[in-house]
């Protein structure tokens, strides 16, 4: 089975939402700023709950925030 990579648009969405800081996003979804940093950099794949909370903060869908790229 090919490995899939999860990419996200959190950084872009933060800046499109009034240059929201990582800390502000972390406070709104109930996680640490460190978690937001590793999320943005693709080092951590969030749970469905956290993904839904992030999408809700940006007023969009999970698919608009996170995309799966099938690898070779």
């Amino acid at each position: 089975m090919a490995k899939a990579t999860i990419r996200n648009e959190i950084r872009r969405l933060r800046f499109e939402h009034g240059e929201m800081t990582q800390q502000a996003l972390a406070d709104r979804v109930g996680c640490s700023r460190q978690t937001i940093i590793v999320l943005e950099q693709g080092r951590y794949v969030p749970s469905l709950l956290l993904a839904l909370q992030i999408a809700r903060v940006f007023g969009t869908t999970v698919e608009a925030v996170f995309t799966m790229e099938a690898g070779g």
Partner: protein
């Protein structure tokens, strides 16, 4: 000689734990931060460091006391054995404090721990069993080689084996948390 085996056992256990934790992780891209900015630490990460360092130093101090005086003296002489035990009990007290704080965070669920913290906590014990097995194997090989001819292993070693396994287990679990933040 046997003390050297003990030190080698602790070193081998630490290496085994590191290898297990590293192999269990995916290959991840490096974290890139803006110039001048440092990675913020989480409450669990700080607590794990604040517990790991004193426990490691107390364990090291105990090993130094036993190594300096020799196993026989450390076992027979109350003036050596009791302070050495005191150092280890102090290390246990630090670990108890760590466990208590973490349990309190989990039970209260007040947002101190997020899902990544919990994931790291869950995977932290991965290195404990290999570290303990290596320690036990090193003790067994060392003691057999040293006392094979006499067929008599001093009972002091039961005490040392127990404490070394306990401290290796504790250090491996704390190191698992610290390493978990670097590797996820």
């Amino acid at each position: 000689m046997v003390i050297l085996w003990g030190v080698a056992a602790l070193g081998a256990a630490f290496c085994a734990m590191l290898i297990v934790v590293r192999r269990a992780q995916r290959v991840l891209p490096p974290i890139v931060l803006p110039p001048g900015e440092t990675m913020p630490t989480t409450a669990l990460q700080r607590l794990a460091w604040q517990s790991l360092v004193p426990i490691f130093l107390l364990t090291l101090a105990t090993a130094a006391v036993v190594a300096y005086n020799g196993v026989a003296v450390a076992w027979d002489n109350d003036a050596v054995r009791l302070p050495a035990t005191g150092l280890l009990v102090a290390a246990l007290a630090v670990f108890t404090y760590y466990i208590g704080r973490v349990r309190m965070w989990i039970i209260r669920d007040n947002g101190t721990l997020d899902e990544r913290d919990r994931a790291i906590l869950s995977s932290a014990p991965a290195g404990q069993a290999p570290a303990m097995m290596v320690t036990l194997a090193a003790w067994m090989i060392g003691l057999i080689e040293r006392y094979h001819a006499s067929h008599l292993v001093p009972s002091a070693y039961l005490y040392l084996i127990f404490w070394s396994l306990l401290m290796v287990s504790i250090l491996a679990s704390l190191a698992g948390v610290v390493i978990g933040y670097r590797r996820s």
